[in-house]
Subunit: 862 residues, 2 copies
């Protein structure tokens, strides 16, 4: 992998801007401009809905947790292999809005486009497109579209489409569609997957237009989940006196009221006429935000000559703004047409709502959508955007990282891009987790992995702990499935979490790289323990924590054994660690270490419950059929856990067999195959070589750095630098953090550079399939836990700040036990100040410090 790449987009502070539309980069850009609120996810496709083939684009609209299953076929099936898949399903598209200017269809590939910009506003949380288009027939229009997926309203996506005729007065027609004929790009985005979904998987059960409202309801063929979705439309007519004012929207930054360059608020300046509402002067409808509803008739469905069932609504109303539409078998449309005067800006606001049977009874879906759409209409696009900015503002206030120094603008842009996307990705309802690709694409079939707990959750934990809790809630909610899975794996007690899943059941079809990754249990337990330490949320421990820790710990007590040949140490065989090039290993260092600490945490938690909440303990004990001897066994296992150790170099080999593997000779691998080993080499070839795909032992040494000496960490870091290929996006950020901890700040900086803009510059050439959420979160960790040296271990929040040569200063904030701590680091000093809440006790370079106001520490050279 190249260390650095040329920036794809201009380096900007809070925005990512595309200056030219190009089919060849479109698929990737759809991910760049994807929006989500952790529930609805929508790719950054264009309103006019180009016909992209599978290599150039994917219209994608997803709801977290909503999947389709297919029967999985195996050459040779193993007992316990998942029988049905889970794939995040591509849902009906409601964004599509065709624009016709005097009958000419707006199409950026026809006519002429100028002043084009597509801008992701990360601070405010919306996507914007601006351009001037001259149609083949010579009609010139200014167009601006905006889109947001509301954090304030979980089920709502809102769009705004502004059109201003610049050199004519004439007919403007919007054709807003509900396109139910959608399918996943499985072959493209998950090429190794051979079970689909292929083709359309939703069976439409309702599809209607009522006035300017469209509604669809459909159920998946196999998983039996139902989605209800709809849109509603309002037309807002604005004519603005001066062209300069309209120009506000084009290139001069924020287009909304406050601080706009031209000094006016575009949204309110000019004469504003709302199309719709009974008492509206022009349209005679009451509510000033109601949609235009002038239509000639409402015909029931009939059989058209071509055999399809269609509803055709009358056109040709005598009002200025008419609404008509069509309802077909799989798609429906709402057509809004009006006369626009030259220089008059016409605005179509479209509210979109998705809800599924995972949230509501199937019979409630339509009413729910109707209600949510009405509420959103009442509010209007601008109010939703205001709330969006407010919501994002709270996040950025804690999460944003400031850096001053060489290259800092590019780094900060990368960091913000990363934080924005992971902020978008996490489920916040306790019923859904976070896909490794968020809701930005179909990669990894939308599955949740350990990425959530080990990479992303810590970021939320220190910035928006409520979301971290919700992610843990999701795991707790699927504990029963994990119990069932443990039985399938032959464990009589306990719970084993799936390696990849949406609904809580195992979805990995290749167990050496899937189910064998038992460390998932310890990862979840680690995240939970971290949550408890950082928040001090004891209620959570009592309510869910002890159960989650204990049920997952039980697996460790069953999977291994005290081996006589290892002096009675506890050995865990035939599991796969994080490293995907070394599978089915014996005594994977990471796994054994994490299992040991998991057992310790679980034992402590159970003993705590027993002491502090005896009544709860008794109830819990009965529920889990828990024997006190289990506790003793856990403690004995933890005491005697075997960790592979190589005397000569003083290092922890990846596993028992690692040092015997054949030395890796990269020179024999053709350059074009180097980063794609599984695509080009047989698994046996890969696994017989001494090399590692990604941080594995090194990750363990980071997470439990308090249990190892710096020298030890350094020796291991040196060793693993030699053998790690960083073919996973989960690797460099961890190496960067560990490099910092042993004073290798400049090496850390190199790793950081590789990870900070990994997705923004598409280092892996697969950003089209979705974000790499783990690495995105890992970059935040590299700054805070790497350069900042922050750890929360043994109940202590500690820092060992360092600073790269090229930086003059950087600062970040972390939430800790209800307070917010701001940390600013320069070459000379680290300043800790309390931004919110009560005083915080921290340890800096091993010294205890109480931060009440502000407190400066001289920088040490590690």
């Amino acid at each position: 992998m190249e260390k650095r790449r040329e920036a794809i987009y201009p380096v900007e502070e809070w925005t990512v801007t595309e200056r030219m539309f190009d089919r060849r980069t479109n698929y990737r850009n759809e991910t760049t401009f994807a929006l989500s609120n952790g529930y609805i996810g929508t790719r950054g496709t264009f309103e006019e809905a180009y016909e992209f083939d599978v290599d150039t684009g994917l219209e994608g609209d997803f709801v977290n947790g909503f999947y389709e299953s297919e029967k999985i076929r195996y050459g040779e099936a193993n007992f316990g292999s998942p029988l049905y898949s889970q794939s995040l399903l591509n849902l009906p598209n409601l964004k599509e809005t065709g624009l016709y200017v005097e009958g000419e269809k707006f199409d950026m590939e026809r006519g002429e486009v100028s002043e084009y910009a597509r801008v992701l506003h990360m601070k405010e949380g919306f996507l914007e497109r601006r351009l001037v288009w001259v149609s083949p027939g010579g009609k010139m229009v200014r167009i601006r579209t905006k889109r947001l997926v509301s954090f304030d309203r979980k089920h709502i996506m809102a769009t705004r489409f502004e059109v201003t005729p610049l050199n004519f007065s004439g007919k403007i027609r919007f054709v807003s569609k509900l396109q139910g004929d959608v399918e996943n790009h499985t072959r493209k985005t998950n090429p190794i997957v051979d079970y689909g979904p292929f083709g359309r998987k939703l069976e439409a059960e309702k599809l209607r237009r009522e006035g300017s409202r469209l509604y669809y309801e459909g159920t998946t063929q196999t998983s039996g989940l139902t989605v209800g979705c709809g849109s509603s439309h309002s037309v807002v007519l604005e004519d603005v006196s001066s062209e300069e004012c309209i120009a506000t929207g084009s290139s001069r930054g924020s287009v909304r009221g406050e601080g706009s360059d031209c000094g006016c608020d575009t949204a309110v300046c000019g004469r504003r006429r709302i199309c719709g509402g009974e008492n509206d002067s022009q349209f005679g409808i009451a509510d000033s935000r109601q949609m235009a509803v002038r239509e000639d008739g409402f015909g029931g469905p009939f059989d058209a000559a071509d055999g399809s069932r269609r509803c055709v609504y009358g056109e040709g109303s005598d009002s200025r703004c008419t609404v008509s539409g069509e309802v077909g078998e799989l798609a429906a449309s709402c057509v809004i047409e009006m006369e626009a005067a030259k220089q008059e800006t016409i605005v179509l606001e479209k509210m979109i709502c998705y809800v599924t049977s995972l949230d509501r009874g199937k019979e409630e879906l339509e009413e729910f959508v109707t209600r949510k759409l009405s509420e959103a209409e009442q509010m209007g696009y601008e109010e939703l955007e205001r709330r969006q900015e407010e919501y994002l503002g709270r996040f950025w206030e804690t999460a944003d990282i400031r850096i001053a120094g060489e290259e800092s603008s590019a780094l900060v842009q990368g960091l913000r891009f990363n934080l924005f996307h992971i902020f978008q990705a996490a489920g916040r309802d306790g019923k859904t987790g976070m896909g490794a690709k968020g809701l930005s694409g179909e990669g990894y079939e939308g599955h949740y992995f350990w990425d959530t707990e080990m990479y992303v959750l810590p970021v939320f934990l220190y910035t928006e702990p409520e979301t971290a809790k919700k992610l843990l809630d999701y795991r707790y909610a699927t504990l029963d499935q994990a119990r069932d899975r443990a039985r399938v794996l032959g464990h009589e007690k306990g719970a084993l979490f799936p390696w990849r899943t949406i609904n809580g059941e195992e979805a990995s079809t290749y167990y050496p790289l899937g189910t064998a990754q038992y460390h998932i249990n310890a990862d979840i337990a680690y995240a939970l323990s971290l949550y408890l330490q950082v928040t001090g949320d004891r209620a959570y421990l009592t309510e869910k924590g002890v159960e989650l820790l204990a049920e997952t710990a039980r697996i460790w007590a069953d999977v291994g054994s005290f081996a006589e040949c290892k002096g009675g140490r506890y050995c865990i065989c035939c599991v796969t660690g994080p490293d995907e090039y070394n599978v089915l290993t014996d005594n994977n260092f990471y796994t054994n270490l994490m299992a040991r600490e998991h057992l310790r945490d679980a034992a402590r938690a159970v003993r705590w419950l027993k002491e502090k909440e005896p009544a709860a303990y008794e109830k819990w004990k009965e529920k889990l059929d828990f024997q006190e001897e289990e506790l003793t066994l856990w403690e004995e296992i933890a005491e005697k856990m075997y960790l592979p150790y190589e005397e000569k170099r003083g290092i922890y080999p990846l596993d028992d067999g690692f040092m015997m593997r054949k030395p890796w000779d990269e020179s024999r691998i053709p350059a074009e195959k180097r980063a794609w080993l599984y695509e080009n080499y047989h698994p046996l070839f890969i696994m017989r070589h001494r090399m590692s795909k990604q941080a594995d032992a090194v990750l363990g040494l980071y997470l439990h750095s308090d249990l190892f000496s710096k020298e030890e960490i350094q020796r291991n870091y040196d060793f693993y630098q030699e053998v790690t290929l960083h073919h996973s996006s989960l690797s460099t950020c961890i190496f960067g953090i560990v490099a910092c901890s042993i004073g290798r700040v400049e090496e850390a900086y190199d790793y950081f550079m590789q990870s900070a803009r990994m997705d923004l510059d598409d280092h892996h050439n697969n950003f089209y399939a979705g974000i790499h959420a783990a690495n995105m979160a890992g970059t935040w960790q590299t700054v805070v836990s790497g350069f900042g040296g922050m750890r929360c271990q043994g109940g202590r929040l500690s820092f060992e700040p360092g600073i790269p040569e090229k930086w003059e200063e950087y600062s970040f904030r972390v939430r800790y036990r209800g307070s917010v701590l701001e940390v600013t680091v320069t070459k000379e000093k680290a300043v800790f100040s309390l931004a919110e809440g009560e005083k915080v006790r921290i340890w800096v370079y091993g010294e205890e410090v109480e931060v009440e106001g502000k407190c400066e520490i001289r920088m040490e050279r590690l």
Copy 2:
């Protein structure tokens, strides 16, 4: 597994007899009575072709090497996984012959059956059925059918159908069919396989009747192989003066001339009238063995009212015997009808021929079948049977084992059954190998495994060495595919044989239990080395041996490395040994040992060639791009090969991780699941436990017993007895052999009892899917190499005879360097005598002995 089971069939010397037809045991009995010559295989189904469902029977007709492919689907595909399957394809059935007695269809499930017997004549090599049937309408007939698959004529199967009206004179009608509408029982016989073949896979290209000849030609949908097959019919009318004479066939032993109980030769007694042939007195046809050809007309195919293409031939000839028939889309029939007098025996002889495009050009197939059928007709069934007995006789003369003592009849029957079936199973044309199930059923999709080389080939080597050579030829013939496979596995040089195959390409779809079994290379090399030692065939070494040894050895030089952490010893990681419960292991003892000896043999062979045949060596060196440094490397690897060793017990663990595995607690496994672990437990559960499915290290200690002390072997044997579950049919025979070698003759006897009648008594309850050829051959090895203590190692043929308590005497013969040695062992002495050829030098209990005539050695207690 139970150690012994009640005998299913009566204990008999040279026969296996079924006394009652029962649908419930039919599927199994079809395997028991299956016939093959290593080219054609046919299951022991009935001529009248009952409609069995997939649980009660499978009409199966196979040609060795003839397979169909299907695209294999994988949940998640790995690089190098086979993309197309190979399944031994079920071919058109030509055995079917319906019998109508005065219009009533013969059916053992209607009317009354008496004097029923179905007999496998193992000495003579044919299958017989005898019975008396009273039709629902009261017609009584005696029926005898015979069937053989000719060893003398590779492409020919012959059947004989005798009918004698006992209480009437009347019409007898045979409806002989060619049934092309056949399919495999994949779901039943290979339930874990999800790629088929499902449904009919042959596309019929020719289907015709010409006179009493039927011909079919069809090509597979995917593999593109063509089969041509046909049948011809002759009617022989025999009336026999006395009923006693006919009764000969019913229960009084041999029905053929020599030694028949009634003193007459049924085949010649009575008035014999051949139906067919121009000059025949009654039918006016010349050749006394020609078929009846009186038919009224020969119509071309026409479209019948039901849309099918049919040919209907006229009936109602004025001769005594008429032939007519039908030709449909997938099936054709030949109907032969005549009047039979009471007590007159009517005989239908049917010759069947199969040939495929693997043997002949597609355009030659029909002519070939016609010619072969004519030749077979000329010969007649009786002559074919005579030659069959002669052929078998030669085999039995060397292969048969005689035992005197308690239980010996049952054992001998089991042994003969085993030998008979493996004798039937082996391909003898150098283009085909031997399926693990021979050609007796569809189990394992007809694939060839290591079973051939390690279990079956030694039996042929010592009894019919030409067949052993042909099996090696098959491997040599697929060396190019093995070279290609090695590249797929990342080896730049050398050849890696597939774990399972028909056409020479890898067909295993689950690499941990398939491709990872690299030991296949050493197994083939071992068999080759053994062949060279036992036969002394140096021409073979020059011509093919060196190349085969060297190309396969190269893999060992690339797959492992000298590991610093193991003191510079050569380690082989991530391969699977013979034991299928311990996969992807590091330093599997068996693999490393076999690889070491393979490298030594290969180096010796190359050095031999260089010295003895310098010209051939130079040519060979160039062909293989062989560097002399490779030789040095091989020798260094052999020198430094690492073998796992456990100091405390002084044993060789199965692999590096074995001693750390979790102890196995069988009490936690429900009895009904114990023998079916992969069907009931996840692979991870199985592999994390310290237990072994089958002989693994112990097999290595047997094959290279000269390299280990008796004490060492004993310690390992004891250890592996504790941890081996014998869930594979390849296990007990090996333990039996090793038990003998350390003087545990009674334990060996126990193991022997489990393996000797394993299939005859259906210990594994899956005999329906085909024979267990490896175990069948293993029982021969248990007597000869176990009790007889025979080894051929380091160029020496040695014996260390022992004898079980229950036996008084046993004897066997072995071919060795052109001579035949007979060994007879009693409690007191072992007698070695030369049955054929020149004097033989052997070692008995370590002492050199030259056997010229006869030589007696006093028995030692080991």
